[in-house]
């Protein structure tokens, strides 16, 4: 039985506006509990919400960057349910009349690019944070719980995708693309580990060609791109097994257990939630002036797709490389700054996409946080260009520069790691090596190209790796003839 995977994502993006969605409290992270609060976001009796204009603009910008329609009129609605992290025991959200309607994102995965539909974008307010004090830190078995309302009321944008995603890998690629788009807008830190980017998934399977959707499960608690992919792979496999053994899929919410690498059912005491949505009578309808929206659209910063095209065109990069640089805004910025400082584009791209990226991954560092800056890369490439260092040496110097923050030219000076380019000095050593290794020389004359490498290796050894490999090759060939 060939089963098609159908995935839809529900994404929440926490904005980095100055103030909260409905009050003037600051949007902060990591502050002592209940210090960024006021009667409004604490849901005291008698308070009223006031809409954050910047948040509305940000929501429109998200919609515009996802090719969505921006509705001429949108409306806030109350989502009613009881939970201690919700000060009013209702969340101000949007229901019938969200700020943005249908749109799409083009996502590349597995070598193909597919268009994933966006259903809607709407605005809501975040909840507070519950901390359960007890053995496991989870609610079950806790002695008591405390709640921090610093986060309550922070603007939250909800983005819903159509169930167009067809694989866990594509889901991951979608999230990466979405993140890069939103980062380009500069309105959110978009960090899954910190919670400023959250994702829940709806997963179902059906036979290929079937139009009707299968029974879906909702998967929650995926806190990284990696977890997202693993969770979805697990869930697809779990559902596949059930279907193949003739069992029903139960519509339920499942929790991704990252430690155990499984999804577990959250069925327990769940009743179907009736949120009793109704238009919030404390807020008036928001009219999006067409001219203002057009202005927002024109003022949108360069988005990843456009950037990729520009980088490829202006710097003669491979499309694939340009895409990678464009999808990772800090990396792309680093690249452009490096080139602006005089470095060769292709070499800069090469270094960034390979050595630098690999090192960042290994050390789990963000490029913006590292001591290695465009200035450092420009410096390094200059040294390579002049021949002061060899490619191999460059790699070592890069590592040291990355670790210490010292400029490569300073490192070179301090350690005397200057590449030996003095032809006379090299010739002497090369003659020495030739004299000491008659067998290798014979082998080479006999047609064994490998023997040259052996001789070069000896020269490098004798020069502590400082000899310029190109020069050594050139002189060696001359001396052997």
């Amino acid at each position: 039985m060939a089963l098609e995977t159908v995935i839809g994502l529900e994404i929440h993006v926490e904005l980095n506006t100055n103030s909260k969605m409905f009050c003037g409290c600051p949007v902060t992270f990591g502050e002592p509990p209940n210090t960024a609060v006021c009667p409004v976001c604490l849901g005291h009796p008698g308070v009223l919400p006031v809409v954050n204009k910047r948040a509305v603009e940000s929501a429109a910008m998200i919609g515009l960057s996802l090719n969505c329609t921006v509705a001429p009129l949108n409306q806030f609605a109350r989502k009613n349910y009881f939970y201690p992290d919700m000060p009013k025991d209702y969340q101000i959200s949007q229901y019938d009349l969200p700020i943005c309607g249908k749109g799409y994102v083009d996502v590349g995965a597995g070598g193909a690019t597919r268009r994933i539909g966006i259903t809607r974008v709407h605005m809501e307010e975040d909840t507070g944070k519950l901390i359960h004090k007890g053995q496991s830190g989870r609610i079950h078995g806790a002695d008591y719980s405390v709640v921090d309302f610093n986060r309550a009321g922070v603007p939250l944008m909800e983005i819903v995708s159509e169930p167009d995603i067809r694989s866990p890998e594509e889901a991951r690629a979608f999230m990466v693309k979405l993140r890069s788009i939103i980062l380009a807008l500069g309105i959110s830190d978009c960090n899954m580990e910190e919670g400023s980017l959250r994702c829940d998934a709806n997963v179902s399977l059906r036979e290929f060609g079937e139009e009707k959707l299968g029974v879906k499960t909702e998967v929650k608690n995926m806190n990284s791109f990696r977890a997202l992919r693993k969770a979805l792979e697990y869930e697809v496999a779990r559902q596949t097994k059930l279907i193949e053994s003739g069992e029903r899929i139960i519509q339920e919410t499942r929790h991704w257990d990252d430690a155990g690498n499984i999804t577990t059912s959250l069925r327990s005491k769940e009743e179907a939630h009736d949120y009793r949505y109704f238009p919030d009578p404390d807020l008036v309808n928001i009219l999006m002036d067409a001219d203002e929206v057009a202005k927002l659209k024109v003022a949108l910063p360069e988005l990843p797709d456009a950037r990729a095209e520009r980088l490829a065109r202006d710097f003669n990069l491979e499309a694939g490389d340009a895409k990678v640089l464009a999808l990772n805004k800090p990396l792309g910025d680093f690249f452009e700054e490096t080139v602006a400082g005089g470095a060769d584009a292709l070499r800069a791209a090469n270094w960034l996409l390979h050595e630098v990226s690999a090192t960042l991954n290994q050390t789990d560092t963000e490029i913006d946080d590292s001591a290695f800056t465009p200035r450092h890369l420009i410096d390094l490439l200059k040294l390579l260009d002049k021949g002061t260092i060899s490619g191999k040496m460059a790699k070592e110097i890069f590592k040291e520069s990355f670790e210490t923050g010292k400029l490569p030219s300073v490192i070179v000076e301090d350690s005397g790691h200057v590449q030996i380019t003095d032809e006379d000095a090299l010739t002497k050593i090369i003659d020495q090596v030739i004299a000491e290794n008659p067998k290798a020389v014979e082998d080479w004359r006999g047609g064994q190209e490998r023997a040259v490498g052996f001789l070069v290796g000896n020269v490098m050894r004798l020069t502590q790796g400082k000899a310029s490999p190109d020069l050594v090759n050139k002189i060696l060939k001359e001396r052997l003839s």
């Binding site: 604490l42 009796p45 809409v51 109350r78 009881f82 009013k88 009793r276 109704f278």
Partner: protein, 488 residues
């Protein structure tokens, strides 16, 4: 005459002329309170120390020649559903019986800035849900005209306080008639402004699309003075409107020649007490004699107003009252609880009275999946019809008239058995809230020694016409009766 018997505008003159001090005025009012409060029970909390301190401060400022606000030194009673920082604010509910707000509501702050001397927080139906003040957790307030009867509700405390001279002025809130109806039953003036004219920030919400704060005063002049202080756009209230606020005291004119007055046909028929009908009819005749042009207007959908209201208001209330959950403030159950849900349920079961619970359940039902369209959705559509009924009427008239209440004050306990009976008390006032229009009640007679209220309704933001019509009537009618209380 005792100082407590005066109106605010009369006291303003005396205070400005330094013929009396604010402290003396306050003391006079508090003496009156000591005398009659045991019978009236208008207050939940008295703020005597704060009041006397403020009065003394006003006197000092006046002596130093400082500029003072328009209500400087005037004792004002504030309904106990408005946030007063540091002063107990209970909504006459057990669930807030220990609640001290951390901020002042906008209207409260405006009144403070105007120099009022707050006498205390007055009693109300719990969470403003009621028409008699009988649902108060702290026991009912009694009508000063006859303490066996109700003062009306939900602002019964403020109305009774003003009627009994336990305050010079009062402030209340009106969602379905809660300023106007008690004003009518207590023989005082009560105004519900146009929705959006006065900020709701600080008013503990009952029904957000209907609530408004307004003055309860001894006469129309005082009403205009207070309206000047409290009206105006507030950045903290997204539903407050940016309109030019005129000086409402300039509307206090006696000339209503040519004023077009429409009498609401549907509210002068069945269900209205004959004595009330007669008083309104006479009132209309008086206005005609002053030159007003009287006609009849019809509000065909008025008969559905009560039903629409009792779906919309409870629906919004069910959501507004969700926050009273024992987590952050207010009453929390002290019984053992199994889990979070248990804590919520026990807290709210203990904290809310029967009428509040009834309306929360009704409202939750009206909003629930499968019923929203038939109930809440439908009620909102009816509301639109009522709005257009009034708009149509106002094409041919400047103001419309009806009784405020179908009856005079009823006996305590008379209507508590059947909630629907109680709801009928609001049949004349509710349409005004649904349409968001300004409405005033002023005394136009007595029946069996109990006051009858005349309701005048105006066009949106046309409080000026309303005040003119009211002032002209008041000056011509000369309602001089006062309840028989205390040592007079």
């Amino acid at each position: 005459m005792e100082f407590f018997e005066y109106t605010a505008h009369e006291l303003q003159k005396l205070l400005k002329a330094k013929e009396v001090s604010a402290v003396d005025v306050a003391k006079s009012v508090y003496d009156r309170i000591s005398e009659v409060e045991p019978d009236v029970h208008a207050y939940v909390t008295l703020t005597e120390n704060m009041a006397l301190a403020e009065a003394a401060s006003i006197d000092k400022k006046r002596a130093a020649g400082e500029t003072l606000g328009p209500l400087a030194g005037i004792p004002v009673a504030v309904k106990d559903n408005m946030a007063t920082k540091g002063v107990l604010t209970t909504c006459s509910s057990r669930i807030l019986s220990n609640h001290y707000p951390v901020y002042n509501g906008t209207v409260v702050q405006k009144l403070y800035d105007a120099g009022i001397v707050m006498t205390g927080k007055t009693n109300l139906d719990e969470f403003a849900m009621g028409s008699s003040t009988e649902t108060s957790y702290f026991g009912t307030t009694r009508n000063p005209w006859n303490i066996e009867t109700v003062p009306g509700g939900s602002s019964g405390g403020s109305a009774a306080a003003v009627a009994a001279d336990e305050a010079i002025m009062g402030i209340g809130s009106d969602t379905g008639g809660s300023i106007r109806q008690p004003a009518a039953l207590c023989g005082v003036v009560g105004l519900k402004p146009t929705y959006g004219l006065v900020s709701r920030y600080g008013l503990f919400a009952f029904a957000s699309s209907l609530d408004q704060i307004g003055p309860i005063t001894k006469d129309v002049t005082d009403c205009a003075i207070m309206l000047n202080v409290i009206a105006g756009h507030d950045n903290r209230d997204s539903t407050s409107v940016k309109v030019d606020i005129p000086d409402y005291t300039k509307s206090l004119k006696k000339d209503i020649k040519g004023l077009k007055v429409g009498v609401i046909k549907e509210l002068m028929g069945e269900g209205i007490d004959p004595a009330v009908k007669e008083a309104i009819t006479k009132a209309v005749e008086l206005m005609a004699s002053l030159g007003a042009e009287i006609s009849e207007v019809t509000l065909p959908n008025a008969e559905h107003a009560l039903s629409a209201y009792y779906l919309i208001a409870p629906a919004e209330a069910s959501s507004n009252l969700a926050r009273y959950d024992g987590v952050r403030y207010g009453h929390r159950t002290e019984r053992d609880v199994e889990d979070m849900l248990d804590m919520y349920m026990k807290t709210r079961a203990e904290g809310f009275g029967a009428e509040v619970k009834r309306r929360i359940m009704l409202g939750t039902y009206a909003l629930s999946a499968g019923y929203y369209d038939a109930y809440y959705g439908q009620a909102q559509k009816v509301r639109t019809l009522i709005i257009s009924d009034f708009a149509n009427a106002f094409e041919s008239v400047d103001v419309v008239i009806s009784p405020t209440s179908p009856t005079v004050a009823f006996k305590i306990g008379e209507k508590t058995e059947n909630p629907l009976q109680m709801y009928l008390s609001d049949v004349c006032t509710i349409p005004v809230n649904l349409a968001g229009l300004p409405g005033i009640s002023l005394p136009c007679g007595l029946s069996g020694g109990l006051p009858i209220g005349l309701q005048i309704i105006g066009k949106p933001f046309d409080e000026s016409s309303l005040l003119t019509a009211s002032y002209a009537f008041e000056q011509a009618f000369e309602f001089k009766d006062k309840p028989n209380m205390g040592s007079d």
